[in-house]
C-alpha cells in the first residue's frame, strides 16, 4: 500500500459538498486499523492517496442510508413549497399539543389581532355573520332591560309627580342635579335580595347559596335543582333557544331573577320591587365568579367545598336592599302643619261659600231650564230666545192668542214672575187643537154636531142641516195649507134624511090609498053598506097625504075614478060611475078632506077589475078607485 502526502492533503481538505467529516482523523483511524491487522504495516499518514475510491466506498457502506435521508431532508427544508406542505400537515396537531402552553396564546395573539383587523378591513360582513348569533341576543336583552328600566322610572315618576312627596323629590332632584326619575326610583323601589343561588348549569347542582339573615327557605339543594328543571321544562316545552331560559319568575311580591353564565346560573330571590339595574349587579357578580373560577366551574362534579371563596361575591349580592323610609315622627313640622291647617280652613270656608252659591245658582239654573222646556212643549208657543240677562229672565218668541198664558206656566215652574220679561209676537198656530178652537168659534156647530181632533185632523160627527154643512165645507176649503183639515164625512145631512123619509112615507101612503076601493051595489050611486069604515080610514090617509105634500112643498092630487059594471047602457053606466065618484068625494069632504086635493072622473065599465062577466066580477067592478098623483109623477 503506497501513499503520498498529496493525497492526504486532499483528504484533509474537505470537499465543498461534504462538510463535517474529519478526513484526517478518518485516515488516521483507518491506518491504525490496518496496523492492528498487520503489525508490519507501516505507512505515513501523509501517504494516503488524494483520491482513494475505497475510502469513498467505505463511506457509502457505512453511511449510505443516512446520506440518502439527509439529502431528502435537506431538499425538503430548502424547498419552501415542500416545507410548507409538510409543516401544514402537522400544524394542527402541533398546536393541539401546544395549546396547554400559555405562551402559544401570547405568541399568536398579535398575529391573530392583525389578521382579524385586516379581515374586518377587507370584508366586515364575515365577522358580522360570525358574531351575529352571539351578539344579537345580548343586544336584544340589553335593549329590553333598558326599555324596562325606562318604563319603570316613567311609571314611578308619573305615580309620584303630583304628590307632596313628589314635590319634595323634585326639590331633591333640583338640588342634587340628578334626574327626577332617578330620585323617584331611589325612594320608591323597596326590595331585598333574600337568597342567592349559584347553580351549576349542567347538573343543576347547587354550588353555593347565601341567604339574607331573616330569609327562610326550603333545602337550597332541592330548590336549585328544581329551578334548573323548571328552566329545562320551559325551554323544552316552548322550544326556546339553548342559551336563553326563564330570566324572571314572579310570585306575589317575590321575584326570581335568573342570570345565566357559561357554566353557572345565578338566581336571586328578591322580595319587593327591585330596580332594573340589579340585573347588571347580578350579572357582573356572575362574570367575576366565572373569571376567577373558570376551570373549577367547568369541572364541577358536585364537590362544592372548593367554592368557599365564591360566597363572598354572593354575600355581597344578598346584602342588596332598599328599605322603605320610616316617617320621621320626632321632627314633625308643627309650624308647617298649623299654617297648613289655617290655610286649609280659609280655603275651605271660601270654597264652602263658593260652593253654596254655585249650588243655589245651579238649582235656579235647573229650574229655569225646566220651565223653558215645559213652555216649549205648549202648543201655540214658539220660543226664539230664552236667556238670563243680569237678574232678569228674558223670553221672546211667537204666541198663538189661543195658547196658554206663558206666565202661568213659568210661575207654576217656580220662576219669579217679577223678574220675567216676556216678548211675544202673535201668530196663528196650526196645531189641531187651535184649528178646532177656531172652527168651533166660527162655525157655531148645531147641537147635533161634535167637533173633535182625531189623528191630527178635526173630525165632525153627528147630524146637521144642509145649510150648516154647506158653510162647514166652505170653511174647510178656506183653511190654510198645511193645517189639519176638517173632515165632514161623519156628519149626516138632516134635511136630506127628512126628505127621504117624507118621500118614503108619501110613497107608502100613495100605495095604501091606491089600494083602497069603495064598493057599490048594482045600479046604486051611493056606496054599499059597510063601506063607512073604509071611507073613514081613507079620509085619514088623504089628510095625511095632504099634510105630507104641504111639508114637501109639492102639489098632490088624488083622482077618484068611478066604475060601473057592464050591465046596462054605456051612457048610463058612465054617468053612474061619475055619480059614484062624486058621492065618494062628497063623503070624503064630509069627513074633512080638502076637496081641492080631490078630482073625480067616471070610467063607466071601461076599466073593469075583472072582465069575466060573472056576478062576482061584476060586483067587484062596481067601485070607486083612487089614483094619487104627486110632483114626482108629473
Amino acid at each position: 500500500m503506497s501513499t503520498s502526502a498529496a493525497t492526504l492533503e486532499w483528504l484533509f481538505r474537505p470537499p465543498p459538498s461534504d462538510a463535517g467529516i474529519d478526513r484526517k482523523a478518518l485516515a488516521g483511524l483507518l491506518v491504525e486499523l490496518a496496523r492492528n491487522v498487520e503489525p508490519e504495516f507501516c505507512v505515513q499518514s501523509t501517504g494516503v492517496p488524494p483520491v482513494d475510491p475505497r475510502l469513498e466506498q467505505l463511506r457509502t457502506l457505512l453511511l449510505g442510508r443516512e446520506i440518502e435521508i439527509m439529502s431528502r431532508l435537506s431538499e425538503l427544508v430548502e424547498d419552501p413549497e415542500r416545507l410548507a406542505v409538510a409543516v401544514g400537515q402537522v400544524l394542527p396537531t402541533a398546536i393541539a399539543h401546544a395549546s396547554s402552553d400559555a405562551r402559544l396564546g401570547q405568541v399568536l395573539a398579535p398575529a391573530l389581532e392583525r389578521a382579524t383587523q385586516s379581515s374586518i378591513r377587507s370584508d366586515p360582513r364575515t365577522l358580522v355573520n360570525i358574531l351575529h348569533p352571539l351578539i344579537v341576543p345580548a343586544i336584544r336583552k340589553s335593549i329590553g332591560e333598558a326599555i324596562d328600566k325606562t318604563f319603570q322610572s316613567l311609571n314611578e315618576s308619573l305615580k309620584h309627580s303630583l304628590t307632596w312627596r313628589g314635590l319634595r323629590w323634585r326639590c331633591e332632584a333640583w338640588r342634587t342635579g340628578t334626574p327626577f326619575a332617578e330620585v323617584v326610583l331611589k325612594h320608591t323601589l323597596v326590595y331585598q335580595v333574600e337568597h342567592i343561588f349559584l347553580i351549576h348549569r349542567h347538573t343543576g347542582l347547587l354550588i353555593s347559596h347565601v341567604a339574607a339573615e331573616d330569609a327562610a327557605s326550603q333545602d337550597p339543594q332541592l330548590v336549585s335543582s328544581m329551578l334548573i328543571a323548571i328552566q329545562d321544562f320551559v325551554r323544552d316545552s316552548f322550544s326556546g333557544v339553548e342559551q336563553q331560559g326563564l330570566d324572571t319568575l314572579r310570585l306575589g311580591e317575590l321575584r326570581l331573577w335568573s342570570e345565566p353564565g357559561p357554566f353557572a346560573t345565578l338566581v336571586a330571590v328578591i322580595r319587593g320591587n327591585p330596580p332594573e339595574e340589579l340585573h347588571e349587579t347580578l350579572r357582573s357578580a356572575l362574570s367575576q365568579i366565572h373569571a376567577e373560577r373558570h376551570q373549577a366551574l367547568e369541572s364541577f362534579d358536585g364537590d362544592s367545598s372548593a367554592f368557599a371563596d365564591v360566597e363572598a361575591h354572593l354575600t355581597e349580592c344578598a346584602a342588596l336592599r332598599q328599605r322603605a323610609r320610616q316617617p320621621a315622627r320626632a321632627s314633625f313640622p308643627w309650624l308647617v302643619a298649623v299654617i297648613g291647617l289655617v290655610l286649609l280652613g280659609l280655603a275651605g270656608a271660601a270654597g264652602w261659600r263658593w260652593w253654596q252659591n254655585e249650588r243655589i245658582d245651579a238649582a235656579e239654573q235647573r229650574r229655569w231650564a225646566g220651565a223653558i222646556a215645559r213652555l216649549r212643549t205648549e202648543p201655540g208657543i214658539v220660543i226664539t230666545e230664552a236667556a238670563r240677562q243680569g237678574g232678569a229672565f228674558v223670553v221672546s218668541g211667537l204666541r198663538d192668542p189661543l195658547a196658554i198664558e206663558p206666565e202661568t206656566v213659568l210661575r207654576e215652574a217656580g220662576i219669579d214672575t217679577n223678574r220675567l220679561v216676556l216678548r211675544w209676537a202673535p201668530y196663528e198656530g196650526l196645531d189641531p187643537e187651535f184649528v178646532l178652537k177656531r172652527l168651533k168659534t166660527s162655525l157655531e156647530p148645531p147641537p147635533g154636531v161634535t167637533l173633535a181632533v182625531e189623528d191630527g185632523r178635526v173630525v165632525a160627527t153627528g147630524s146637521a142641516p144642509a145649510r150648516w154643512l154647506e158653510r162647514a165645507r166652505l170653511a174647510a176649503r178656506l183653511l190654510p195649507a198645511g193645517s189639519p183639515g176638517l173632515d165632514l164625512n161623519g156628519v149626516e145631512n138632516t134635511d136630506e134624511a127628512a126628505t127621504a123619509k117624507l118621500l118614503q112615507a108619501t110613497k107608502s101612503l100613495r100605495e095604501t090609498i091606491q089600494s083602497r076601493e069603495i064598493h057599490f051595489d048594482s045600479n046604486e050611486s051611493l056606496p054599499a053598506a059597510g063601506q063607512d069604515a073604509i071611507l073613514d080610514q081613507l079620509a085619514r090617509e088623504l089628510k095625511e097625504l095632504a099634510s105630507l105634500a104641504s111639508t114637501m112643498r109639492v102639489p098632490a092630487r088624488v083622482t077618484l075614478t068611478g066604475h060601473s059594471d057592464d050591465v046596462g047602457r054605456g051612457t048610463l053606466n058612465l054617468s053612474l060611475s061619475l055619480a059614484r065618484s062624486g058621492a065618494v068625494l062628497a063623503l070624503l069632504k064630509k069627513r074633512g078632506v080638502d076637496p081641492d086635493l080631490l078630482s073625480v072622473r067616471g070610467a063607466g065599465p071601461l076599466e073593469p077589475l075583472n072582465a069575466e062577466g060573472s056576478v062576482t066580477a061584476r060586483s067587484a067592478n062596481r067601485r070607486v078607485s083612487f089614483t094619487v098623483g104627486t110632483e114626482e109623477q108629473q
Partner: protein, 172 residues
C-alpha cells in the same frame, strides 16, 4: 348570612327512571327528603328529592330527579338527564314489559350520556304470587355486571342498599 353548603359533602345528580306505574315514586318516597308535591311530576314532568348517604369517608347528597314515568321512551325529556352522575332504573317485577322498558331506557341513556353507574330495582316483590321475572334472568343481568335487586316500596327492601351502592360508585 349563613352558608348552607358543607365542606365534607358532595352532591350528585341521579335520575330515577322507569316505565309507567312501576312505583318508583312511592319506592323512594319513604326514604328521601322531599319538599315538592307529586303534582310536579304531572306538571313539570320531574320531581326533585334528596337522599343523603353516609359513606365512610364522606357524605353524598344524591339529588334525585324523579322523571315522570312513560312507557314511550321517545317522549322522555332527555334534558332532565343532562349532567346525571348515575341513575336508578325501576321496573315492576309483576309486569314483564316494564323490565323491557327499563332495559331500553338504559340503552337510551347510555347512548345519550355514556356509560353511567346505575342500579336496577325490580319493585313490588311483596307480590310474590304475581312475580313474573325468573331469578335466573336477574342472575344473568348481575353476571353482566349489573347491580340488580328486587325491592318493595312496602317493606323498603333493597332501596337503601341501592342508594348506598350507587352513592359509593358515583362519588369516586
Amino acid at each position: 348570612m349563613t352558608a348552607t353548603v358543607q365542606n365534607a359533602t358532595v352532591q350528585k345528580k341521579i335520575c330515577v327512571l322507569g316505565g309507567f306505574g312501576v312505583g318508583k315514586t312511592s319506592l323512594v318516597k319513604r326514604y328521601v327528603q322531599s319538599i315538592f308535591s307529586e303534582t310536579y311530576l304531572t306538571t313539570v314532568g320531574v320531581k326533585i328529592d334528596k337522599k343523603t348517604v353516609n359513606l365512610s369517608d364522606r357524605i353524598v347528597h344524591l339529588i334525585l330527579w324523579d322523571v315522570a314515568g312513560e312507557d314511550d321512551i321517545s317522549s322522555l325529556r332527555m334534558s332532565y338527564l343532562r349532567g346525571s352522575a348515575g341513575y336508578v332504573l325501576v321496573a315492576d317485577g309483576t309486569r314483564r314489559s316494564t323490565l323491557e322498558v327499563a332495559l331500553s331506557l338504559r340503552q337510551r341513556v347510555s347512548a345519550d350520556c355514556g356509560p353511567l353507574p346505575f342500579v336496577l330495582l325490580l319493585n313490588k316483590n311483596d307480590l310474590k304470587e304475581q312475580w313474573a321475572i325468573r331469578d335466573a334472568e336477574l342472575d344473568d343481568l348481575r353476571q353482566n355486571g349489573w347491580w340488580a335487586r328486587s325491592s318493595s316500596a312496602r317493606t323498603g327492601e333493597g332501596v337503601e342498599d341501592a342508594f348506598k351502592d350507587l352513592a359509593a360508585r358515583v362519588a369516586h
